[in-house]
């Protein structure tokens, strides 16, 4: 019996029409599920990557702008008044939180409580930093998960596809390459998609984690400096 005929009868794939669509279409439904899941992961990874890239560049630029405004000798009251309505970035949020606590201690209560003000301001700023960092690194875990688990999921699809293709080979009682090749190509397609999803995810995760770390450090530095300024103010007034 001609191996090509066997291949045509058992597996409807022939080497002539090994397009991606036929590879996907003739796969087992579990392999299909894996492929679709990995495709969705890839889409999601790239969406997060685009979002984060835009977010971090915008955040970095606004920080630069705020720092130049902060150190320009402008009155902190004015700065607070302009930003308090909508703190649109992390450093502004930090500044607004600290200033609000400062103002509340001075203006709100009749007796001025300077004793715990320093500690309160630092506490508020720390909480704000934590919240801002959390906002920056939101969804980064998705990238980490896809980057580490994607290849395994793809490998699972491949193993499953090869298992089913071996069953087909056993059924056809023919081990010629024309019979074996389409099933294995179809199975390997799952690993390919897994790698396609995982490689960018890993790269973006490393890049973004570094970026988040840098911005968090910058926030910490600003918080320390601002806390020092406020502490001097408290000592002067008290």
């Amino acid at each position: 019996m001609n191996p090509a005929d066997v291949a045509q009868s058992v597996l409807p794939l022939t080497s002539s029409d090994l397009s991606l669509f036929t590879l996907f279409w003739h796969a087992h439904w579990i392999v299909k599920f894996v492929m679709i899941g990995l495709m969705v992961c890839s889409v999601w990874v790239w969406a997060i990557a685009l979002d984060k890239t835009v977010l971090y560049t915008r955040s970095r630029k606004s920080m630069d702008r705020f720092e130049t405004a902060f150190w320009s000798g402008q009155s902190l009251e004015e700065l607070y008044r302009s930003l308090s309505s909508k703190p649109n970035h992390s450093m502004a949020a930090l500044f607004v939180a600290a200033m609000r606590e400062w103002k509340r201690s001075f203006e709100g209560s009749p007796q001025k409580s300077f004793a715990g003000l320093q500690m309160r301001i630092e506490k508020v700023m720390q909480v704000t930093i934590a919240r801002e960092v959390e906002r920056l690194e939101r969804r980064l875990l998705v990238l980490a998960t896809v980057g580490s688990a994607g290849p395994f999921v793809g490998l699972f699809g491949t193993v499953w596809g090869i298992m089913t293709s071996f069953q087909s080979i056993a059924a056809s009682k023919n081990t010629s390459l024309a019979v074996v090749a389409p099933g294995i190509a179809e199975a390997l397609f799952a690993t390919a998609i897994g790698l396609v999803a995982a490689i960018p995810a890993t790269i973006f995760y490393n890049k973004f984690a570094g970026e988040v770390n840098k911005q968090a450090q910058r926030l910490e530095g600003f918080a320390d400096e601002f806390a020092a300024i406020l502490s001097r103010q408290i000592d002067e007034r008290g």
Binding site: V43, D51, V54
Partner: protein
């Protein structure tokens, strides 16, 4: 909002990449240049021996005289006439030789018998009926015309006139030189397959003692005399002299192998003369390798 636009852009990019991949991802079929198949026949040793065996009435001997005719072609008709009878006679010579020894004796006996038979027949026929006489007269003339063909003088005369190259090949092997001059008229050679078969048989039966491999290169030559049926004519005769327990054990083992191995049917009785007496060399260092077989 930001995430939504990013998702939309990502999805669009993926669709574009997939579409491009679907269009461009086409496995090119490997062009396999069909290799020309070599027909291989597997033949056994026996078939190989038969292949190398010549056929007595092969067409080749008839064709060989032709070039000689062309050489002498200055007078075309004469050599043709000369050669034609020679070939005819030559063809008869080969079978004659085999019968030679047998054919002459029956003639005198027949001659003696004929006169003996004739008187009683005559007496019987005289007594009984004269009719059976005519059929019995024809037989006597029949041997008489044959006699000139069997005449040894004529054959000798023909042989003297001829070049040895003109003689037809009657040997057992293709392309072998004619061996008409020998008594056997067969190829004076053991074929390689026969040698290998004999070697394989004897080496399979020969089991040197365990320590023999350390003893190094020990060669034991044994003279074997065969009968025509492949059995031993006499006991194996050890030609190599030596001493030591290892040598003794190997020598005894070799003698045993020769005794156990008979009858050696792989040796063809056609050319019994070639293997009537063989000096076989058992070589401990060359087990299963090329062992020389010398013919005495």
């Amino acid at each position: 909002m930001q995430m939504k636009t990013a998702s939309v852009i990502s999805t669009g990019l993926h669709i574009a990449v997939l579409a491009w991949a679907t269009l461009s991802f086409t496995g090119k079929t490997f062009e396999v240049t069909p290799a020309e198949s070599l027909p291989v026949d597997l033949i056994s040793e026996k078939e190989f021996s038969q292949l190398t065996k010549g056929i007595k009435d092969a067409p080749k001997p008839v064709e060989t005289p032709k070039p000689i005719v062309e050489k002498k072609a200055e007078e075309p008709p004469k050599p043709v006439e000369e050669i034609k009878p020679k070939i005819d006679e030559k063809r008869e010579v080969a079978p004659n030789k085999e019968v030679k020894q047998e054919a002459p004796p029956p003639d005198p006996i027949a001659d003696k018998l004929k006169p003996q038979e004739k008187p009683p027949e005559k007496q019987e026929t005289a007594k009984a009926e004269p009719q059976p006489l005519p059929p019995k007269k024809p037989p006597p003339p029949k041997p008489q015309p044959k006699k000139p063909e069997f005449n040894a003088d004529k054959i000798a005369a023909l042989l003297d006139k001829r070049d040895p190259t003109r003689k037809s090949i009657t040997g057992n092997e293709l392309n072998s030189a004619p061996s008409l001059g020998t008594a056997s008229g067969s190829a004076a050679q053991l074929s390689q397959s026969e040698i290998d078969a004999l070697k394989a048989r004897l080496y399979a039966l020969w089991s040197p003692p365990a320590g023999a491999q350390d003893a190094g290169n020990v060669q034991i030559t044994i003279r074997i005399k065969f009968k025509r049926d492949g059995t031993l004519a006499t006991g194996p005769q050890v030609l190599t002299s030596g001493s030591g327990p290892v040598f003794n054990a190997m020598r005894d083992s070799a003698v045993r192998a020769v005794l156990v191995g008979q009858p050696y049917t792989m040796l063809r009785p056609d050319h019994y003369e070639t293997w009537q007496e063989i000096d076989f060399v058992f070589d401990s260092s060359k087990m299963y390798s090329d062992i020389p077989v010398r013919r005495q």
